[in-house]
């Protein structure tokens, strides 16, 4: 007579257990997850220095395909060991731009308004995301498009080399004449 009571509480105790088991089974399928690290990144992409020359009246970005400047690159690579890869890339880009378009592209009507540099090299400084290009004193100020050539080439090289940092603040200094600034990639570049 006293034996009638225990059945119901036992089922009551077991009910949540069964329910959770059922839930475990029914809440099946492929569960969503958080972001999980999955090993190394892909690697192996190369880079090209883009040089901004003038075709017609507008800027055009051309990959550097000059073979004649290998000694220039070697000289810079030696310096890059001390200066860092970003500075190397920007310096190389600015110097290649200063050298001017090669004969093959020149034949297709590509020009540069930057004064040809045979005896000088622009000084490039990189501090964080600030890039400063200092030119030697010219007899006359740079044209607007020549300034854009410099700004775009330096910014592109900086961004390619260090995509993680904020876009560069490029400053072009011409002693005695003027100071040009551009924030990151100018819309006029490409």
């Amino acid at each position: 007579m006293t034996s009638a009571t225990p059945v119901r509480p036992r089922t009551a105790r077991l009910a949540p257990l069964l329910l959770s088991a059922m839930l475990l089974l029914t809440a099946c399928g492929v569960p969503a997850s958080g972001v999980v690290p999955a090993g190394d990144s892909a690697t192996g992409i190369g880079r090209t220095t883009m040089l901004y020359f003038i075709r017609g009246d507008d800027l055009t970005a051309l990959p550097d395909d000059t073979a004649s400047t290998t000694d220039l690159k070697a000289a810079l690579a030696f310096r890059a060991q001390h200066a860092g890869t970003v500075l190397y890339d920007v310096e190389l880009a600015v110097w290649l731009l200063a050298v001017g378009p090669g004969d093959a592209v020149r034949a297709k009507g590509v020009t540069s308004e930057l004064p040809a540099a045979q005896t000088w090299r622009p000084t490039v400084r990189v501090a964080g995301s600030a890039v400063t290009v200092e030119l030697p004193p010219y007899a006359r100020p740079l044209t607007a498009i020549a300034t854009r050539q410099l700004l775009c080439t330096a910014a592109d090289a900086f961004l390619t080399a260090s995509p993680d940092t904020a876009p560069a603040q490029v400053t072009v200094k011409v002693p005695g004449h003027a100071l040009w600034r551009a924030d990151g990639f100018d819309r006029t570049c490409s």
Binding site: G29, A32, A38, G44, I45
Partner: protein, 531 residues
């Protein structure tokens, strides 16, 4: 004594029946149901928990294997393809790159999103790429390592892998993040199907487990309930008086232990009852022997006192009084010994009916006449020859004489006697003898004891003229006829004794039926014709 032994057994029997009655409705909560429920619950819980754990492990395995393979393939393909590309990429080249990656695995439907410098290109035109969460995008942009995320979009599971691309290692440059990232979204329908198959198999496993558990529970319940049922039957049998009931003890579990204890208890009970019966028999035989031994000296004493009585007139008064007293007491003693011997014969089961076809009215008339009661007893008898039956005439005489003597002795005259017959339903013709006195009646607390041997209604009056066995002998005689005797108080005062006797012994058991207690007769007094 036999009655005393019987009545507890009867009480136990009724108690057992009462318990059985109480327990019968609770069969739904019986051992069988509880065992089945418990086994089923345990089976379901075990199957489900095992299934759930196995399922979780298996699912993790399936997913891990597939996503590891996808990520490895993806990385390999991207590594191969990026060798043909150089940064910076134009929008067109970015699209071309995404297409190349998507095409690299033609057997699977890879959807690719490539991002570079804030631009993005998808392998499928105008693909919203909803699977890509901002968290994954941020993680890929900030960490230079691959990441994956499983998401569910519109109820469909998908795996998204984000893979940043690092620069080629070359002399003079340091491999670093290039800013190019590729995302792969791939449907997980195959994995979903594998996992669904797992669930189905777990569900299929639980059904046979459940069935097996229920079968086992029924088997276990059978094993438990069979001894319990045997025990119940045995208890009932003992309660019905079969003290030699024993259980077959097999096995050595608790139930076998219980059966063993039951057998021991039953044996002890049987032994006690046998001992009591032996003692009862000895006591009866002793009483019979004593009365028998007393009879011979008493006969001699009676002869002597008779002679002394005759000569008492010649003795001096004191001696005469003493002699008469001795004579009276000797007569009483002789009567007591006769009654004792009579009752001993009943107790020994030696009393037998000598049936004869008699006229009851005539028989009662002669009883009254023999004892000179015609004047003191007012008898209402049917006409001679109308009420005949097969009875023992000597015992009928004893019955009537004892009842009337009792009425005269303890009640007060006038005493009324009435005889009539009636047809008892299904039991043939019965005769009723009623004896009513005009005394104060019987106290209510004495009524149930009035037929007991040597019972004195007045405790202070220790000496009465009767032996104290008259009503007991009446009872035994009535019982021998399978009749009933009943004592009650008449509504108009006076004690009313009612004897009912069957007029034919045919169809009744030949031996006496001691179980029937005379005072338990349900004969109502209200319907008495004397009222």
């Amino acid at each position: 004594m036999r009655n005393l032994l019987k009545s507890p057994a009867k009480a136990t029997g009724t108690a057992a029946r009462a318990v059985a009655r109480v327990r019968a409705p609770s069969r739904l909560r019986g051992v069988r149901v509880r065992l089945v429920v418990a086994f089923a619950l345990v089976a379901v819980a075990a199957t489900l928990s095992t299934g759930a754990l196995t399922f979780r492990e298996a699912r993790t395995g399936v997913l891990q294997q597939s996503q590891d393979a996808v990520i490895r393939q993806f990385r390999d393909h991207v590594n191969t393809i990026v060798a043909d590309y150089r940064l910076p990429l134009s929008s067109a080249r970015l699209k071309e790159f995404a297409d190349d990656v998507a095409r690299s695995e033609p057997t699977q439907s890879w959807r690719i999103l490539a991002t570079y410098r804030g631009r993005s290109a998808t392998s499928t035109p105008r693909d919203p790429f909803a699977e890509l969460t901002p968290e994954l995008r941020t993680a890929v942009a900030t960490r230079s390592a691959a990441d994956f995320q499983r998401v569910t979009v519109h109820g469909r599971p998908a795996l998204v892998v984000g893979l940043p691309v690092a620069f080629r290692k070359s002399p003079g440059t340091v491999a670093g993040n290039s800013g190019l990232a590729v995302f792969l979204a791939i449907s997980q329908n195959t994995e979903q199907r594998s996992i669904d198959a797992l669930v189905t198999s777990v569900e299929r496993a639980s059904v046979p487990a459940l069935v097996l558990a229920v079968l086992l529970a029924l088997l276990a319940a059978r094993g438990v309930l069979r001894p319990v049922r045997a025990l119940r039957e045995a208890t009932r049998s003992i309660a019905e008086g079969h003290l030699d009931t024993r259980l077959a003890v097999d096995g050595s579990d608790e139930l076998a232990d219980l059966s063993h204890t039951f057998n021991e208890t039953a044996a002890a009970l049987e032994e006690s009852v046998a001992e009591l019966r032996r003692m009862e028999t000895r006591a009866r035989r002793f009483a019979a022997d004593v009365s028998h031994e007393l009879r011979t000296p008493l006969a001699a004493m009676s002869a002597v006192t008779d002679i002394l009585d005759e000569d008492a007139a010649h003795l001096d008064p004191d001696t005469a009084t003493a002699v008469r007293l001795i004579s009276q007491e000797t007569v009483k003693l002789a009567r007591l010994v006769d009654d004792l011997m009579e009752i001993s014969r009943f107790d020994a089961g030696a009393a037998q009916l000598h049936l004869d076809e008699i006229d009851l009215a005539e028989s009662i008339n002669s009883t009254l006449a023999t004892r000179a009661w015609r004047e003191t007893v007012h008898a209402q008898l049917p006409p001679p020859g109308t009420l005949r039956g097969r009875l023992d005439p000597r015992r009928l005489d004893v019955i009537v004489a004892n009842l009337v003597a009792n009425a005269l002795r303890h009640g007060a005259p006038p005493v009324q006697l009435r005889l009539y017959e009636y047809e008892r339903s299904g039991a043939g013709r019965w005769a009723v003898i009623e004896v009513l006195d005009s005394g104060p009646g019987i106290p209510a607390d004495v009524l149930p004891l009035i037929f007991d041997r040597f019972y004195k209604s007045d405790a202070a009056r220790t000496r009465t003229e009767g032996s104290g066995l008259g009503l007991a002998i009446t009872t035994e005689n009535v019982r021998l006829h399978h009749g009933t005797v009943h004592a009650a108080n008449h509504p108009q005062g006076g004690a009313l004794f009612t004897v009912e006797l069957p007029l034919s012994q045919d169809g009744l058991p030949p031996s006496e039926s001691p179980d029937e207690h005379p005072s338990e007769s349900p004969r109502p007094t209200e319907g008495s014709p004397l009222a």
